[in-house]
């Protein structure tokens, strides 16, 4: 028989109807039991038993340095909040406590705004109430309905020397709750920068809950006796690789009122020992709501104290870059330690229709590679750059990661900038409308080259160790292993190190020489179109078996030689050697930056007849210098 025969359908319809009747009957009976029979019980509950969950913040994990010194901790504090109620009630209550708690109308508006945003959570009035205010409020509790005073752990940063590195916590914003902090309640504290942001999920812990009874107007009657609190789970502690003692020493030694950054690395592991950026700020100001006045000082100051200059600012690397060029040339076998360049330095180099000057107008004479690094001779490196060739230079720099981030475990690192290849210049100037002259500028760390401090320090980390690249880290090493290496033999590395020792012993940084310690390093001066030049120095020691590499940049410091003593003293301090000798030394040596044009001004009509093609250079210098090997 057809399954949809009316007879069969009627039978099934009967079953279906009965089923619906039975189920709806059960529902009605249950509602009857709840609403009619159980009415008294539930009526009483709805009138009296009104529990309000109040969040109990979890103490954040403590951040330690490598020796167990505290960089961020929790101290006991009191918060004052008001339980939610109609806005008019809140306003009058606030007016009543205004004189005691010392709050002005701007704060009152912020409290009301908080109450509007999270209508059923206690609205925070004071994030950090002093004890006398708390006791004064406690005395008048009867007159202040809905008052809620809680002892809460408060974030505290004992040292502002690590301000940018550690970061700070502040109230989560609406925008953050829709993206990265979806699980944080309104008004919860989250890390905003530095380690506090990077490791926020581990540091934060889980909030607890406490229940209070409120009356029909939503005001607290008493602590709910029967309700056991849900205890907060504290956050995980963070053990970093920072040496707080070194960091503080650097902060003390850093020239007051100057801007810049200092970074110290263990060259053999990539551990960051210090990461200092000047000027710093007081991170404690953020914890319980930053005052608008202080925020204005921080955000509008031209010195930009919130900026971590070690990873979030790019500078032209200046002469510190010469080591990269030297390494490339050694790797490709273009020069050896004793190689001379065809043209001795006489204070500059004529290339095409332009004259590229050396920083020393008197000239350095005929130099070997070692001497050229020690004296930071621009003319030597101009010629080395031409020998190397634009293509090889760009290829090596890209391979060594000078275009990109190092991948340190800190938020907001910006990538360094460097041209991807010759096609960059094709785009910039048009194909065949530029010349090898770009190699001259690139060879001395000028031109289209902007590096972060951490990027340059990583280059010297490679020079100071076995040539292998180690990603700098503060807490945990990056999981993706970098196999990148400079690919230099031990001999070649030793050559470069000897040259860098010469920099400190006889060369441009001889003012920072220490009698009982051999430091290797390199100065640099980054031309700054906005004012005085920036000064670089990156050095490591002991030169034979390096344990620490420190890089520093000081903005508007004129030249690197003024920076070198800071680095050498910090190295001596770290290695436990008497640094007083260095502290007394204050030698000014000439600017080692080539006063060459920042960008090569190209006037195609005048240049093209002279240099028609980069692959067929036909200028004077090429008759003297052999063509760079093409690969």
């Amino acid at each position: 028989m057809n399954a949809f025969h009316p007879y069969l359908l009627d039978r099934r319809l009967g079953v279906a109807r009965t089923a619906v009747w039975i189920v709806l009957g059960i529902l009605v009976m249950s509602f009857f039991r709840t609403q009619i029979l159980g009415h008294g019980k539930y009526q009483l509950q709805s009138e009296t038993n009104r529990l309000r969950p109040i969040p109990l913040p979890a103490p954040r994990g403590v951040i330690y340095d490598r020796n167990g010194h505290v960089m961020a901790e929790n101290v006991p504090g009191y918060t004052v909040s008001l339980l939610p109620g109609p806005e008019a009630n809140l306003r009058s209550t606030l007016a009543r406590i205004a004189s005691i708690a010392n709050i002005d109308s701007a704060v009152m508006e912020r409290v009301l705004q908080r109450a509007r945003r999270a209508p059923y959570q206690p609205a925070l009035v004071l994030g950090d109430a002093p004890f006398n205010v708390v006791s004064a409020l406690e005395e008048r509790r009867v007159a202040i309905p809905g008052l809620l005073i809680q002892a809460e752990p408060k974030r505290s940063y004992p040292d502002s020397a690590v301000a940018q590195l550690v970061g700070y916590v502040a109230e989560v914003t609406e925008a953050e709750r829709t993206s990265k902090f979806a699980k944080v309640r309104l008004g919860g504290l989250v890390g905003k920068d530095g380690l506090e942001l990077q490791y926020d999920s581990a540091l934060r812990g889980d909030e607890g809950l406490r229940f209070v009874e409120v009356n029909a107007r939503g005001q607290m009657v008493r602590e709910a006796a029967a309700a056991a609190n849900l205890n907060p789970v504290p956050g995980t502690d963070l053990h970093t690789t920072i040496d707080l003692d070194l960091q503080q020493y650097i902060a003390r030694m850093f020239p007051p009122g100057q801007r810049g950054a200092v970074m110290a690395l263990n060259p053999n592991t990539g551990e960051v020992l210090a990461l200092y950026s000047a000027p710093t700020f007081n991170p404690n100001a953020f914890v319980s709501g930053i005052s608008p006045a202080y925020w204005r000082t921080l955000s509008e100051s031209p010195t930009r104290p919130l900026l971590d200059r070690s990873i979030k600012t790019r500078y032209p690397p200046g002469s510190t870059w010469k080591l990269a060029i030297a390494a490339m040339a050694l790797k490709r076998g273009i020069v050896g330690p004793r190689s001379h360049m065809p043209i001795p330095c006489r204070g500059g180099l004529q290339y095409g229709n332009r004259f590229f000057r050396c920083w020393n107008a008197h000239g350095h004479g005929d130099l070997t590679l070692t001497e050229a690094i020690a004296q930071s001779c621009d003319v030597y490196f101009y010629q080395l750059g031409i020998k190397l060739g634009v293509t090889s230079l760009l290829e090596d720099a890209n391979e060594w990661g000078f275009r990109g981030r190092t991948g340190i475990d800190l938020p907001g690192e910006i990538p360094s900038e460097f041209p991807t290849g010759p096609e960059y210049y094709d785009r910039l100037y048009g194909p065949r409308r530029w010349t090898s002259a770009v190699a001259l500028n690139l060879a001395i760390g000028q031109g289209e080259n902007a590096q972060t401090l951490i990027q340059m320090v990583r280059l010297y980390q490679q020079l100071a160790s076995d040539g292998r690249m180690r990603t700098p880290f503060v807490v945990r090493a990056s999981t993706e292993a970098t196999r990148a290496s400079l690919d230099l033999t031990a001999d070649q590395l030793a050559t470069l190190r000897r040259a860098m020792i010469a920099v400190v012993e006889q060369g441009t940084a001889r003012g920072s020489r220490l009698a009982n310690l051999t430091i290797a390093g390199k100065t640099g001066t980054a031309q700054n179109p906005h004012g005085l030049d920036h000064g670089w120095f990156i050095g490591f020691a002991p030169a034979d078996k390096p344990e620490i590499v420190i890089g520093a940049i000081i903005e508007f410091a004129r030249h690197g030689t003024a920076v070198a003593p800071l680095v050498s003293r910090a190295i001596a301090h770290y290695l436990g050697i008497d640094e007083r000798t260095a502290a007394q030394l204050q030698v000014t040596v000439p600017n080692d930056s080539a006063p060459a044009p920042f960008r090569i001004p190209l006037v195609p009509d005048t240049i093209r007849p002279v240099i028609p093609d980069t692959t067929r250079p036909s200028i004077r210098i090429d008759s003297a210098i052999s063509r760079p090997p093409t690969r």
Binding site: R17, S30, Q35, I36, Q43, G218
Partner: protein
């Protein structure tokens, strides 16, 4: 046009219209809290959705069942595609913030594909079952229907949305019944689910396995079927614990709180207790429209979606609940009548499936407000705020009205019934 309106199934139109108005009024009340939140103005938007639903229902009414039957595979395919897409680019929202059930493009949320999939499964099952010469008689016949409902069910479970996944199984069960499957086969097909549910008590599970063995000996299906069913039940019992462990903690807590809300009154049982207090304190006549204190002071969670029926109970009392349930019953019986009088098996199965969908949602959602059902968070038709489900509901109503109209045109059912 007007003559067309007069030819509509009056009982269905009136009951649905009454439910929609009742729902809108309740939604308005849901926004009336002491401290206004975004829920206060949500009924404006629901009004817009209702207008859209009217248009959708009208368009569906103009689609003939043959056209629908032809389009079914495409609808089903699109629904599956959207479900898969949701797994990759889905986001959480509103009261379902933790799961990926929303399809969003560029931050703009389009809807919950799971709701569309429910209708698509109904259509696909209707098409398949209506084309069978004989009603399903063996387990082999149930494989394809099982796949039609099972694939979207698994995809939805992955979001994870346990409530909607259960709805798919319920629809499959109801439609197999309406297609004429023998009750014994239905019971055997459903037995693994029962076995899984009872696995949490060893004694209950043992009794169930013994009963099943007796039933199998009595009904004497094919031997391999008996073995399959027995194996599935034993598997259900064995896999219950790993399955339980794989549930998200909030799902575990909801199910535990269902068994005993007082176990953890602070966290998991909170919603159930507060909803029950709201309903119970309503009494016979309620606290008055918009006057519910539990709702006003925000003790009721998700009062505009999952727990909207608690507001009816609190503010309009037992009388209001009776009226609401009576309207739902009227609508369900009208749908059953339309399904009975339909001119062809496809239409009949469609309408019955739609009735089954409403029935499941109503029983689950209303039952959960008084802890008769575990909290799964599926919406109440015509009450809960939400565009996707309202549109799907109106699609269902449009289909049912068309089927009723067809049977009248063909003289199969009398006019004016």
């Amino acid at each position: 046009m007007l003559s067309r309106v007069r030819q509509l199934d009056k009982a269905l139109v009136i009951s649905v219209a009454a439910l929609a108005l009742f729902g809108l009024a309740t939604l308005y009340s849901a926004g009336q809290t002491d401290v206004p939140t975004f829920v206060a103005t949500i009924w404006h938007r629901q009004l817009v959705w209702l207008g859209l639903s009217l248009i959708v229902a009208g368009l569906t009414f103009r689609t003939s069942p043959r056209m629908l039957e032809w389009a079914t595979p495409f609808v089903y395919g699109i629904a599956l595609f959207l479900l898969v897409l949701t797994l990759f680019i889905g986001t959480g929202a509103g009261t379902a913030a933790g799961s990926k059930s929303w399809l969003a493009i560029g931050g703009h949320r389009f809807g919950q594909p799971a709701e569309l999939a429910k209708l698509a499964v109904i259509l696909m099952l209707s098409r398949h079952l209506a084309a069978m010469r004989e009603p399903p008689a063996t387990l082999r016949d149930l494989i394809i229907p099982g796949l039609i409902a099972g694939i979207p069910c698994l995809l939805v479970l992955k979001q994870p949305d346990l409530g909607s996944a259960i709805v798919f199984l319920a629809i499959l069960f109801f439609m197999l019944f309406w297609a004429g499957t023998k009750p014994s086969l239905l019971l055997l097909a459903a037995s693994p689910v029962i076995g899984l549910t009872l696995a949490f008590s060893t004694v209950a599970w043992g009794v169930w396995i013994a009963t099943l063995a007796v039933l199998l000996l009595w009904w004497r299906p094919y031997v391999w079927e008996s073995i399959m069913i027995m194996a599935a039940n034993v598997m259900g019992g064995v896999l219950a614990i790993p399955f339980w462990n794989r549930l998200a903690p909030y799902q575990q807590n909801r199910l535990l709180a269902f068994l005993n809300p007082d176990v953890d009154p602070r966290a998991a049982g909170w919603h159930v207790i507060q909803s029950k207090v709201a309903v119970g304190s309503g009494g016979l006549l309620g606290k008055g429209f918009t006057e519910g204190t539990q709702k006003r002071l925000a003790f009721l969670p998700a009062q505009h979606t999952d727990f909207i029926f608690s507001i009816v109970g609190e503010e309009l009392g037992f009388v209001g609940v009776l009226v609401g349930l009576a309207l739902f019953a009227w609508m369900l019986f009208s749908l059953l009548r339309v399904a009975r009088k339909a001119t062809d098996p496809f239409s009949s199965l469609c309408v019955f499936g739609i009735a089954g969908l409403y029935f499941t949602h109503i029983v689950e959602n209303v039952g959960m407000t008084i802890n008769l059902m575990p909290i799964t968070g599926i919406p109440l038709p015509f009450f809960s705020y939400g565009g996707s489900f309202l549109l799907v509901c109106s699609l269902g109503v449009g289909i049912a009205l068309r089927v009723a109209w067809e049977s009248r045109q063909s003289g199969y059912a009398e006019l004016g019934q």
